[in-house]
Amino acid sequence: MWCFRFDLRKKLMPYVDGRLDSRMVQKIEQHLLDCNACRLQVKILQTGHRLLTGLPVLTPTRDPWEAIEAAVLADSIKAQEVTLVAGSRRWGVHAPGLALAGVLSLALAVTGVWLIRTGTLHERESESFNQKEILDLKRFQPVSVTNIKDQTEPHIVAEGVVTAMELEEEDGDFTFKLIEDASRPDQFIVCEIIEPIRLKPPKVGSRVKVYGVRRFDDKSNHQWFEVHPVLNIEQVKR
């Protein structure tokens, strides 16, 4: 059975939802008296409507605020760098009479920008990024590969040897495993370097301290602990 009153059929959902004016409600109800198909449709919609009313609000098992805060801070640092560069560029030539001064200023500015950028790169080379002052790394709870499961603090620092480095080509994220020593490769923590805190990945085989947010990946084929996102990496010299 089918109803060809398309104009009225498309009003059935707003009708069930109580969104029609009284004139249209009257029109629909008049139609429902004669139309079995639309009556059935209304009944179906009312059932669905009833079932969905009171859909529960869910709460994340782990509050990701710490990671969001860290990412926002990383953003602010980037913005400051950009402002600094843009500020330097304002020293350009503004009038022909000031050409020489302008050229000199520009040269100084370019040198300044180069120095700033070199400095930033240099800092990244040292495998420690400039958020560490803001992050207060002393607040991070030290954990080991074997006792991470006993910790409850969200901010942790784990020490170990870097293995199994992988690059996800789709989003450019790096993933690596941190192990206690090579004789126990089955005990590891998975570390994820993700946007926007794009740190330089450490060398495979190097010993590092990894700062970040502790989480448990409970997917059936994973079931492991992670540092995700990684907020800072420090090389450990032995």
Binding site: I44, A67, K219
Partner: protein
Amino acid sequence: MSAFRSLYEAYRDRTYSLACYVLGDSLQAEDALQSIFLKVHRSLPAFRNESSFATWLYRIAVNECQDRLRKQPEAYVPLEDIIGSGAEFDGQLLPDELHAQSERQRVIQEALLLLSPKLRSVVVLKYLEGLSYEEIAQVLECSAGTVASRLNRALVELEARLRPLKGMI
């Protein structure tokens, strides 16, 4: 930062629920929650009060979920992976009514997750976030008529999936 944190706390659960229902994966939803609020923070200076803050936030959330769905192959995720199996309650006696209610919600949520992401988005924005057709249309950048039509399809599909369980729910 404290103002932004207040904003985050006010919308965290609703945004997470939206992501969880649309993505069908709690871990992905947690990741999405981070990205959504980071994008919100980045875009706040561009927010023009042309729509309500909630509508604007949900648009960012829905776009983030859709991007993630595009990147991943379609896969059925058992509801237990999302809301837990209930095993954590073993050994505890729950009142029958409470148990029946949670079972009913579990069945409804499972049926909801079988809808397409497009239909799920409309349903969640309407029944969880309580948005009007016009607000949903703003979030999804479509017409209010399209919203009504998608809701219609969603409810019909949902009823068809749950019909065999009539009596239980």
